[in-house]
């Protein structure tokens, strides 16, 4: 898909539109920078929009978070941006109970400010 190719290129440099989130088991998730910046921790690691990144490759390594949890987080980014607050029909985001507890702990343990 053309979008994928552009995405990799878009991870470089301080003005990159995309960032890479890497889980503990080596999966790489590429998310839009503005979505990922809704999380306070990621914002601290990467610097705000337009600022030069502490980590210049715009990657964040999550050494304690497995892919089954990180993939749900990325889904939540899309879900949150897709349905703005005033929309009247917000469908449910399914979270399997098996990962829900782990997801809750990882999100809270890392003091992730996902509002």
């Amino acid at each position: 898909m053309d979008g994928e190719e552009k995405t990799c290129g878009g991870c470089e440099g301080p003005d990159a539109m995309y960032v890479k989130l890497i889980s503990s088991d080596g999966h790489e998730f590429i998310a839009k920078r503005e979505h990922a910046l809704t999380s306070g921790t990621i914002k601290t690691t990467l610097g705000g929009p337009g600022q030069s990144a502490v980590n210049e490759t715009n990657e964040v390594n999550f050494r304690e978070i497995p892919s089954r949890v990180l993939s749900k987080v990325c889904m939540y980014f899309m879900y949150k941006v897709r349905y703005p607050n005033s929309s009247t029909e917000v469908p449910e985001l399914p979270i399997a109970p098996e990962i829900a507890l782990e997801l809750l702990m990882d999100v809270s343990f890392l003091d992730w400010e996902i509002k």
Binding site: K72, V73, Y76, Y79, K80, Y83, N85, S86, S87, T88, E89, V90, E92, L93, I95, A96, P97, A100, L101, L103, L104, M105, V107, S108, F109, I114, K115
Partner: protein, 414 residues
């Protein structure tokens, strides 16, 4: 009194009761409104013994087309545009059902389980209900319960056992077509509609009128509330009483579980809505409708602020309440003041639509009013909490090896 931002809810529409053919002082009330579990129909008791069944999506479209003016009493609701899926099934039709007596309660029952409930074994019975059966149960003034087929408007069953007004009806959400009726004769009865409406059990324990009942989302617990401050929880596998919840100072008239079954909301004439933890009986939150909060003596009498109805929204974060001070209030469970209000005179009952986007409220003159519910994307933490609490009661949550702050959050104690 603390100042807080009062946002007025957006009105969506209204359905006005037809003019009565004769001037009657009572009998016009709309005691109950209900939405079908799959969102296809809306039912309201119009007063004067009739129930109107309206296809919900057509109704919504009419509201959008005509602004907030109502479109009532047209015996055939024909939309000017084509219906693209009119192929196999008939287009849902509007029905007006004459029940023969004042209708006090309504409930939709579907043989298809609502999502996220536990699986149920559907056995074959003589009076077979097809896979797609949608039923409407109506509870009447004389104690009878009539079961109607929603698609055809025909009477299917007549359940006779209660000796007094059937004040509330509710179906189990797991698709088993178990119906529970609550009556002024101080009992609740459990009926199995898959078995020809056989009455399976009588639940005794109330000392006075039973006003309302509600199933937990996994169909394992039933809550019943009634006069003399009664709030009871019943185990629906063994039909025994689990516990009584104490705290209200007056008759308790409405109850509703949150979508994950972790919270129970009850509304009372003592001007309060309480949010309980049904697993251990603790009161977690209190939503007052009178400031300053009334003393127990005042709360226990005629205080002009009776709360008539309460309903949990589908996101598990909002609660709607109807009170005699002519207001509908939307509350968030993490704030103690309402986030939105709307004016409503003589409101008697309310219900959220199946997708949770609309609140319907019925009034004393037989009409229904609709508002858009406050919607927002819940936090990821809340979504996880609901997913966990759907399968885990509070006692198990307390045993989890997690930090105490998370424990409190999971138990809704924050």
């Amino acid at each position: 009194m603390a100042a807080f931002p009062l946002i007025r809810s957006r009105t969506i529409g209204e359905l006005l009761a037809p003019a009565a053919p004769f001037d009657k002082k009572c009998g016009r009330e709309n005691w109950t409104v209900a939405f079908a579990p799959d969102g296809s129909y809306f039912a309201w008791s119009q007063g004067h013994r009739t129930v109107k069944l309206v296809p919900w999506s057509q109704c919504l479209q009419n509201f959008l087309l005509h602004g907030t003016k109502n479109v009532t009493n047209s015996s055939s609701l024909r939309l000017p545009r084509q219906n693209s899926d009119g192929g196999q099934k008939n287009k849902p039709r509007e029905h007006i059902i004459d029940c023969g007596d004042i209708v006090w309660s309504l409930a939709f029952g579907s043989s298809v389980p609502e999502k996220q409930s536990r699986c149920v074994n559907i056995e074959w019975h003589r009076f077979r209900f097809g896979q797609d059966q949608l039923l409407l149960a109506t509870g009447l003034n004389n104690g009878r319960i009539k079961i109607w087929d929603v698609y055809t408007g025909k009477l299917l069953l007549n359940l006779v056992d209660h000796t007094e007004v059937v004040r509330d009806l509710t179906f189990a959400p797991d698709g088993s077509l178990i119906l529970v009726s609550a009556s002024r004769d101080k009992t609740l009865r459990v009926w199995d509609l898959k078995d020809d409406g056989n009455m399976m059990k009588v639940l005794r324990g109330h000392q006075n009128w039973v006003y309302s009942c509600a199933f937990s989302p996994d169909s394992s617990i039933l809550c019943s509330v009634g006069a003399s401050k009664a709030v009871f929880l019943w185990n629906m596998d063994k039909y025994t009483m689990i516990r009584k919840l104490e705290g209200h100072h007056h008759d308790v008239v409405a109850c509703d579980f949150s979508p994950d079954g972790a919270l129970l909301a009850t509304a009372s004439y003592d001007t309060r809505v309480y949010i309980w933890d049904p697993h251990n009986g603790d009161i977690l939150m209190e939503f007052g409708h009178l400031f300053p909060p009334p003393t127990p003596i005042f709360a226990g009498g005629a205080n002009d602020r009776w709360v008539r109805s309460v309903s949990f929204s589908h996101d598990g974060l909002h609660v709607a309440s109807l009170a005699d001070d002519k207001m509908v209030r939307f509350w968030r469970i993490d704030e103690d003041y309402p986030v939105q209000v709307a004016p409503l005179s003589n409101g008697l009952c309310c219900a959220f639509s199946t997708d949770g986007s609309v609140l319907a409220a019925g009034t004393h003159d037989g009409s229904v009013y609709f508002w858009a519910t406050p919607r927002q994307v819940p936090s990821l933490q809340h979504l996880c909490r609901m997913s966990v609490r759907r399968v885990m009661p509070t006692q198990e949550v307390q045993e989890l090896p997690i930090p105490s702050k998370l424990l409190e959050f999971l138990s809704y104690r924050i």
